[in-house]
Point group: C2
Chain length 243, copies 2
């Protein structure tokens, strides 16, 4: 892990750029803390530069709540090498949507599963490096991003003690099978009128999770219309499980 | 409105028994407050004596949050005259459930609609009397109880500025039609594994509400397994709309 930049964001938040192998990432920490703080991993749909304003806002919220926050670039996004199969699947997806045709399971599998296969070991390696830093300690929360990545990570990574999932991306069939084995406490956020999201699939996935303590929050509005109070609800959910 | 009893519950909460005509009710107020407080009406399934411990606990929560709280007995419950048609419908319902048969729409209509017709004017009369008391002022929240009563009250009573609904009772078809016209901000709580509740009907009702700001909270567990943190979520919802 190599730190490449450091910047004061104000309000006592430091933003550190880093690379882990060839994967770029960002770590946000409090300028001062009485002791080690738990860590929240911030998921996103890919493209750290484009997502930076929203990620930094979420990270400031996390730091104000007493955590460190971190994220890494997704495979095939930003300046990372393209994933040819995923790009083809994305083109097929757009073609289907433009033609008003249903999106086939195979398209979803080709779009999402290679991301899951490559991203999850990268997130785990990032966890190893981040938890070895002074000032950061477990337990770990995971919030947002591609839901199939979050499900796999929750399944294979015991250090993830709680996860906030955003129902808003395509879900491979395999992710449903994995969800049944997940026991991590979950808060699932669903935008009820999200045009690009299959509401029934989101409800089915919530139902599938094997977790005993799972909560669904659904709000009116489209994909980007998540009400501000859901950020506070996420904070309280993490406080119950990480503190 | 005649007050029939007054009792200190501790923690600065006063409990007042009252009657309004032949309808018994309970009002909980702070022993001292700097000025008039908003009111939360506590819905319930009927039977004030049986429900008293749970109602008093919810009322103490409300008073601690800076509200007065009140409730009245439902028609046909407690010591009030039985409603013959409702009793017959309840017997038909139990027969259907015992036989493992589906509960017909007509049974639900006969069970619930007479309650709605009689209860809603009583709740409105109670509102008139309660808001005329010194120390209580609008706006008003409504929480829990028979969902068809809450929907009708939200529809016809502009003083109800926000409602927390508990998806856990039978919903007549007419209630769906009324829900489409409701514009009151809503928080709907659903117990995902409630054996006695039709989950799909609850989701359909949430979808039907015409309200722009509506939120669904679903949690694992049965009818009586609502997690404690949902009480706090309800408090924050009312604080956003009543303060």
């Amino acid at each position: 892990m190599h730190f490449t930049s450091e910047q004061r964001l104000g309000d006592g938040v430091l933003e550190h750029g880093f690379t882990l192998g060839d994967v770029p990432g960002i770590l946000w920490t409090p300028e001062s803390a009485p002791g080690p703080v738990p860590l929240i991993l911030l998921g996103h749909p890919g493209g750290l530069d484009r997502m930076h304003p929203r990620l930094a806002a979420r990270a400031r919220h996390s730091v104000a709540d007493g955590y460190a926050a971190a994220t890494i670039e997704l495979p095939g996004s930003g300046g990372r090498p393209r994933l040819a199969g995923v790009d083809e699947a994305r083109a097929d997806l757009r073609r289907a949507l433009a033609a008003g045709e249903p999106v086939g399971d195979d398209v979803v599998d080709r779009l999402i599963l290679p991301l899951v296969e490559q991203a999850v070991p990268e997130w785990r390696a990032a966890l190893d490096a981040l938890l070895a830093l002074p000032g950061i300690d477990g337990p770990v929360g995971f919030a947002g991003g591609v839901i199939a990545i979050a499900v796999r990570l929750a399944l294979v990574e015991p250090r993830v003690a709680a996860a906030v999932l955003f129902a808003g991306s395509y879900v491979p069939r395999r992710t449903f099978d994995e969800a049944r084995q997940v026991t991590t406490p979950l808060l699932v956020q669903l935008q009820w009128d999200d045009e690009g999201n299959d509401r029934q699939a989101a409800l089915d996935l919530f139902d599938a999770f094997g977790t005993k303590e799972k909560t669904l929050h659904a709000n009116t509005g489209g994909h980007t219309g998540v009400p501000g109070f859901e950020g506070d609800d996420g904070s309280r959910f993490f406080a119950r499980h990480l503190k």
